[in-house]
Amino acid sequence: MSQQEMLNQIGLGTVEELFGDIPQEVRLSRDLNLPVALSEFELLNHTQNLSRKNLNLNDHTCFLGAGAYDHFIPSAVDALLSRQEFYTAYTPYQPEISQGMLQAIFEFQTMICELTGMDIANASMYDGASALAEAMLLACQSQKRQEVLVARTVHPESREVLKTYAKFRGLTVREVGYLDGQLNIQELKETVTSDTAAIIVQNPNFFGTMESLGEIGEIAHNNKALFIVSADPISLGILKSPGELGADIVVGEGQSLGNPLNFGGPYLGFFAVKEKLLRKIPGRIVGETKDKNGNRSFTLTIQTREQHIRREKATSNICSNQALNALAATIYLTLLGKQGLKEVALLSLQKSHYAFEQLTSHDNFSPVFSSPFFKEFVIQSVVSPQELNRKLLDHKIIGGYPLEQTYPELTNGWLVAVTEKRTKEEIDSFVLKAGGQ
């Protein structure tokens, strides 16, 4: 047996001797208390049974969004992601044998810059929420100020993550309320101070509503604060880029770009800035250079910002990011192309407005806001949304997000998302069943 052969060569008699440095008092003197090993066949059966305890969106029609969206994913995305050269590789530290991932990330960075209207994008962050928190840290460091203002129309979980990151750094997060589903501009003007490092909004916001980015950006800049926008990348097929409207940092949740819902992850955060912030941004960046024969090549660059070199003085501690998810986004955006992204955005826009009109023409539902929205909207129901969702489940429909849990003032508020995948027949049936017929 090769094990004994190897031990002999090392000059040891037993495997036990390999662990001689571990003091007896910290040894585990029993077997781990874990279920016994399963063969591959048993494991497949076991996990299949476990997965069947969930209701999945292949068998159900989804009108739920709230930060994670049921957009269509072309088959080529997973086929390409499943190539072992991509998914089993480590971070591309050896550029000569990692040109594939490095070039793909360079293409990803370019696409994110194009979508957001920014100059520089990094190789990805953990998700949209943590990207927003890193943007806050960057702003406070860059502006040497200790407070940020965040719209209450930003995703509730993103605001929670902001507060977590802020709390431990001694930063203050102040929330600004909303009016008709949009950030309350008057309240913002009254809240902003000379200690405000950044104004943070989401567009379209958690209610699906579009914010007045240009006007908010001006308020930020008049107060020497940075303007941070968390954007829905699909919406950027038809909406003016935050970069054109004065944003200094644009982040967002990239799940919609070719990543399955996966019960909340892995997704990817994107992170883009204007040129002046290049050397302050967190995370990996891929740059173009030449090899010694003069051929174009790609490598991780500007690494003096990063933890493995700068240690406690690094711009962030991030190391592994979401490379494979960023690759999915790159392939998705390649397949869609310039026209396809616009079509997905337009279909979502048209279908959500159709659903909104159908629902609000029913006696049981009324509109809550009158501001323009993109693919998601808020309505008020006469019965509780939880009850509605339970009823819809009988018809294999996953209903919208009950807003009262995070916005107690929105009594019986229901956040409904409609992507390009929903057909007229599905929408009509949803309205009919939700209306109680």
Binding site: M6, Y90, V161, E288, A323
Partner: protein
């Protein structure tokens, strides 16, 4: 191999790799739905290619990348073990992949049961009370763990502002400490590669919130003084943090909890066999001892009366570090990995990982300088100073290994070893693979004697030669732009 153009350079106007149904609802003009000021006039410059063009492009790119299935990947501190294919199949099951995170709890009992089960198994493996599966990577787990340490002291009314980190630590340790607002105190290692107890005692005081330790450490060595270290830290009121990036040597053999650690993170994408994805997604669950459970990030999965649920009502929680519940599909793969191994299998994993590392250590210790001549754990660290005298650096040796079809070991880390070369073979490699690798290094050693230029100018067989990384950093070009 030819260079592969950027996808933007393959664009032909109005090509598309995607088809959508025609709109089946009554439509309005975009101007009726979106205020004019918000309508995009300049479309993003995205590629315009057909599906076959796109598939060829990314296939070409994949062929310019080296994966774990391509060959041996002894990258120290990264635990590049084989990723079982069945786990990919499981993670893609409809009942895991096509689940919305905000579905009602009654409709996601399978997901919650899996998470609860994984939490329980990780707790048993590490000797902790509970885990949060929320952190998305190792560094993210460190961040959450340090928040817990800070919250613990604050709750006790103590203001402890400093964290001790040994000079052999991963770079993420000091960086994470700084993210949480701690000052970092670095403590030197002793002559055996362990923590210097005298320095540690001198550094401990009422400002110290805790010590971050990797054990086995980044030299691949187990610190025999661990119980004494734990006592010193605890006696001074600090907590002990376990950087579980290097946990592949200890499963079923010893547990951080039994060593005296209070907070632990584990890298599922290392020890628990989930693929690295070319730089993520990873997963870095953070576990704690019983009295710290109340500080874990929220929500936490709980079980009561036959039903799993997400518990948000945790007033002392450090809060949320990420949207939703963690990198769920990575959790599915790690769960499947542990279930496929069982208690005996996990112990065998660690035994074989340690055996393989010692086999490499023993076979190569005459070739390189071995700064700490001890039995190692999951990895071994050499110094290439003998080779440097001959004008060849470990970078050169690493690049030459590329020509022979290997992913090189980690270089220049840990920082306390000059010309460090850090090798982690993992348990999934056979003796034959290791022998072949040892033989190849022997050939390179001969090349250093007979033709050092060949090594110093390597690699010669890769799609690109050595890169000008200085130029890349000095004149950053980090995106493509259409040339006018």
């Amino acid at each position: 191999m030819k260079q592969q153009p950027l996808i933007f350079e393959l664009t032909k106007t109005e090509r598309q790799g995607f088809s959508l149904p025609t709109c089946d609802v009554p439509t309005k003009s975009i101007e009726q739905l979106v205020p004019e000021a918000y309508i995009r006039i300049n479309p993003p410059e995205l590629p315009e290619v057909s599906e076959p063009d796109a598939v060829r492009h990314f296939t070409q790119l994949s062929q310019r990348n080296y994966g774990l299935d391509s060959g041996f990947y002894p990258l120290g501190s990264c635990t590049m073990k084989y990723n079982p294919k069945v786990n990919e199949v499981i993670a893609r099951m409809d009942g895991f992949q096509n689940i919305h995170p905000y579905q009602a709890e009654d409709t996601v009992q399978g997901c919650l049961e899996l998470m609860y089960g994984l939490d329980t198994m990780l707790s048993e493996i590490s000797g902790m009370a509970r885990f949060s599966l929320q952190p998305a990577a190792g560094a993210h787990g460190e961040l959450a763990g340090l928040m817990i340490i800070k919250a613990y002291h604050e709750q006790r009314g103590e203001n402890r502002t400093k964290i001790i980190v040994p000079d052999s630590a991963h770079g993420t340790n000091p960086a994470s400490a700084a993210m949480v607002g701690f000052d970092v105190i670095e403590v030197k290692s002793n002559s055996r590669g362990g923590m210097d107890l005298t320095s540690l005692r001198e550094s401990m005081n009422e400002d110290i919130a805790g010590l971050m330790l990797t054990n086995p450490n980044t030299l691949g060595l187990f610190d025999e003084n661990i119980t004494e270290i734990a006592k010193i830290v605890h006696d001074a009121g600090g907590l002990l943090y376990y950087d579980g990036a290097n946990a592949n040597a200890i499963m079923g053999i010893t547990r951080p909890g039994d060593m005296g650690f209070d907070v632990v993170h584990l890298n599922l994408h290392k020890t628990f066999g989930t693929p690295h994805g070319g730089g993520g997604p990873g997963s870095g669950p953070v576990g704690v001892r019983e009295d710290l459970v109340r500080f874990l990030p929220k929500p936490v999965v709980e079980y009561e009366e036959g039903r799993y649920y997400l518990d948000y009502d945790r007033p002392l929680s450090v809060g949320r570090v990420k949207a939703f519940y963690g990198n769920f599909s990575v959790l599915v793969k790690a769960y499947s990995y542990i279930r496929s191994k069982g208690p005996d299998g996990l112990r065998q994993v660690s035994e074989n990982a340690v055996l393989n590392a010692n086999y490499l250590l023993n076979s190569l210790k005459d070739m390189f300088v071995l700064p700490y001549d001890r039995t190692c754990m999951h990895e071994c660290v050499f110094s290439g100073i003998k080779q440097l005298v001959k004008g060849v650096s470990v970078l050169d040796i690493a690049k030459r290994l590329l020509d022979y079809g290997y992913h090189p070991p980690t270089m220049y880390f840990p920082l306390i070893v000059q010309e460090a070369l850090m090798m982690e073979p993992t348990e999934t490699e056979s003796k034959e693979t290791l022998d072949e690798f040892i033989k190849t290094l022997g050939i390179i050693m001969q090349e250093i004697e007979t033709n050092p230029e060949l090594v110093k100018s390597a690699p010669h067989n890769t799609v690109v030669a050595r890169l000008d990384e200085v130029a890349a950093a000095r004149h950053p070009k980090v995106r493509w732009r259409r040339s006018l």
